[in-house]
Amino acid sequence: MIPSTPQTRQSRPDAAGPLAQLSPASWDLSATLHLVNRAGFGGTPQQIRTMHDLGLQACVDYLVDYETVPPLPETAAGFRSDIRRPPTEEERAEQRRARVENDEAAIGRLQAARNQSDREDREQNDEMRKWWLKRMIETPRPLEEKMTLFWHGHFASGNRTVQDSYHMLVQNQLLRRHATGSFAELAYRIIRDPAMLKYLDADDNRKRSPNENLARELMELFVLGEGRGYSEADIKEGARALTGFTFRDDSFEFRDSDHDDGEKSILGRSGSHHGDDFVRILLSQRACSEFVCGKLYRFFVDDSPVPASPAAPAVIAAMAAQLRAQQYQLKPVLRSLFQSAHFYDPRVRGSVIKSPVQLVAQAVRGLQAHPRSLATLASGLEFMGQDLFQPPSVKGWDGGRAWINTSTMFIRQNVMVLLITGRQADFDESSNAEQTWDPSHLVTDASGAQLPPKQAIDALLEFCLSVPPHADRRAELAAFLNDYGNRIDRGSLLRMLGLISAMPEYQLC
């Protein structure tokens, strides 16, 4: 395990170069809103004004150095660790006996116990989805949760395969603990994580019968990126290095007898490599920092098919250089990025398509929309393609335009209808439609006074859309409001928010 380097604050970026700092004059409310949406899950107009008054540097520090902000009370303690506990010696003996004697009653009892445990694990998984979504909505440390979500998509594991919700929780907490720490440490820890070891069949990776799954994904998806200078032979050798890495109950276990101690050659380096040596060799590749920073860039800056700014490759290269110089510490890289002029370039504003989590969490945090039913929202995330604790594959979520098709477009719009009006799209549970919500705080000025109709429309569009509104948008809302007697009240605000959230560009962050 590499020692974690102490937190560094010296890395203020150069005045020039791809990560040159934003000029203080450009730090306006719109820039603040952009930062708070991108580095977190949004905030209310009042919160945006407060963050703006901090100034760029203090605002970024507040978001990045989140350890100084008191955390949410820990609510994961209620989850059970024993749903999938391994059978005791007596239970194993009973299983053997029942099989040997073909004792149908006993076999039936064992099967019923198994079914019960399956059901309880699924239920706990559902509870965990709600728990995490709630956390992302409520957290005073948005970057911590946002990066945890990033790593969940990067070091992806899913509970349909892991079949142990507690291990998924342990992995989630690992990702949170190291969310903005050292990528290297995360890589070393992920090959010891029970959920990941289960997900990628490490249990079956033994000296005499290597299973390549974990080795392949470490190279292809976790550390280097597909096609970045490794061969099938490197994967086979990497799998040999990882033999013996498994887990028992809830803990990592290295089984010496399963480990292949022979000579291996990985990416041209020979030795009797162990799993950590394999990771160390991967981390020594330049491709690693470039791969990780490329993904961070897509996540935080721009996920268009063709980057909106021609500076993107230079920015990613500068981020990668900084990540290497900082021995894989992530905070300095994120700090530079969030302070850079590039991050606020008009070309990259609104160039990220909201993930389903972003759509929901930002609506509740920013609009202060009533969350209605967490169970419904968690199912909604699943229908929109982002089932928490169940990414579609070890590749995680593709993000960007892959979130959007004609089907998810309707679901996204209908989730917003639910949040705004309480009207239920048929997900799985009845919502709390009686909960009323008054969005009038969205159309007040800094002193709390209500804005007149035209300014109210402008305020709503500027707050809700990350791109300058299409020419027809103001006119459409003005026409609606005119039909409504130009009254700004709860009814007209809910209807206008419904229409704004149905605007295709509402899906942009």
Binding site: S304, F383, P392, R401, S407, R423, A471, A478, E505
Partner: protein
């Protein structure tokens, strides 16, 4: 609000005025012109009789995700090496308990015992089995190999092959619902430069509910969905994220009513209860409704059987077999069987040797199925040799693009080279004159 006087306010009049819109073709982006045009085709009229559709033939693609174990699907029970490589996992010899299902006139290769209904399809002359399908330098990554199959390109780069088919014919897709995928995400295969498929899993969620409480909002919503993609001062760059979102929103709105209408009717036959059957049932209903859709896509995952394969795999194959049979019955009842060719594939097969976990790891060549009365029923190609392996893997005998070439040329009646990037010899999977 001062809309262009040529543009109607509601979708209904938008449809009714399709002819007007078509006359503005020079100034209207191609896809929206065709969107309006497509919706003019009245229900109940088969696409074959509508201009723009030379044929009324349909392709259904069924993807088996995760890498289906081809050796335990089309079983070489006559080969000793099969039993040596798979002492626990091999399907027993035909005639034994749970043994392979025999194929007429063949004593070495059979079907997995869970696939009795596939044998029935064979007996009816509706099942072609192409053995040993693959491609050179096989890639064992699920994602890359799937992308290779989807793009018909061994670099796994570029647009989807079905998307390219639409792009190459009719100057791009004539209708947003030209290609429909049942599932949460649209497969790369159906995504072209112009063509984007409709994808949905639950049709009841396939509409905007924001006007349910206040119908007046529907008109605002219609205008919002159209603005920006229509020509004019406010149109948004087609390549921008906004442009992409606006096109998708419009496609969604246009496709919604039509599809929900089609799925509202009871099917003519009973389908099994599992998910794949429900998805094929939905496809059957859309075909029955006469939707102008040329290609439908369904998928079933779970074939990545690294451990404890036996029961899982049998269950999956049973679902495939039962669903495809019910689908053929439905098409028969509709009188549409002759219009619909179904293709079944997976991104790769599995290693010949079983692993230590009662499963199999990622491999290479595997069989494909083609189903419908137009196929040349029976086995095609040779079963891959089990004693001339490439590093423990089967060598392919038929390039999957030969199958695509046959489908494109003989079924869809389209030159295949522009779509596949090269000329591939056609696999003889369709009956002469089909």
């Amino acid at each position: 609000m001062s809309p262009d006087p040529h543009l109607p306010f509601t979708r209904r009049s938008f449809i009714a005025h399709g002819a007007t819109l078509a006359s503005l073709a020079a100034t209207i982006p191609a896809f929206i012109h065709r969107s309006a045009f497509g919706l003019m085709i009245p229900q109940g009229v088969t696409p074959g009789s509508a201009p723009g559709f030379a044929e009324d033939r349909i392709l259904v693609v069924l993807q088996l995700g995760g890498g289906n174990d081809g050796l335990n699907t089309v079983v070489p029970y006559g080969m000793d090496d099969y039993y040596k490589a798979r002492p626990q996992l091999a399907v027993p010899v035909a005639g034994e308990v749970n043994g392979a299902i025999t194929l007429p006139g063949n004593s070495t290769v059979g079907l997995h015992p869970a696939m009795t209904q596939m044998r029935e399809l064979l007996d009816e002359g509706r099942l072609a089995i192409v053995q040993g399908v693959g491609y050179p330098n096989p890639n064992r990554s699920h994602f890359t190999s799937m992308d290779i199959w989807h793009t018909a390109n061994t670099d796994a780069q570029g647009d989807g092959w079905i998307g390219k088919y639409f792009d190459c014919t009719c100057n791009g897709t004539p209708v947003p619902e030209g290609a429909i995928a049942i599932g949460r995400s649209a497969p790369l295969a159906m995504s072209g430069r112009i063509q984007k498929p409709v994808a949905f899993e639950n049709a009841q969620l396939f509409r905007w509910m924001g006007a349910d409480d206040d119908e007046r909002l529907a008109a605002n919503y219609e205008r919002i969905t159209r603005a920006g993609v229509l020509p004019g001062s406010g149109s948004v760059g087609a390549e921008s994220q906004s442009g992409f979102l606006m096109r998708t929103a419009l496609d969604a709105q246009l496709a919604s009513d039509r599809i929900r209408g089609a799925l509202g009717k009871r099917p003519l036959v009973e389908y099994p209860q599992h998910q794949l059957a429900k998805h094929l049932q939905a496809i059957g209903s859309m075909i029955r409704d006469g939707m102008p859709t040329r290609v439908y896509y369904a998928s079933l995952g779970g074939f990545d059987t690294h451990a404890g394969q036996q029961g899982t795999h049998a269950n999956l194959l049973r679902q495939v077999s039962e669903s495809l049979r019910a689908f053929q019955r439905d098409l028969d009842a509709q009188g549409n069987a002759g219009r619909v060719l179904t293709m079944v594939f997976s991104e790769f097969g599995r290693r010949v040797r079983q692993n230590a976990s009662g499963g199999t790891d990622h491999g290479t060549a595997a069989p494909m199925f083609l189903i419908g009365p137009m196929v040349n029923a029976g086995l095609h190609g040779e079963h891959p040799s089990l004693n001339s392996l490439d590093n423990g893997d089967l060598r392919f005998g038929t390039d999957f693009r030969s199958v695509y070439a046959s489908i494109l040329e003989d079924w869809m009646r389209t030159p295949s080279s522009p779509i596949l990037g090269a000329a591939f010899e056609k696999a003889r999977i369709l009956r002469a004159g089909a």
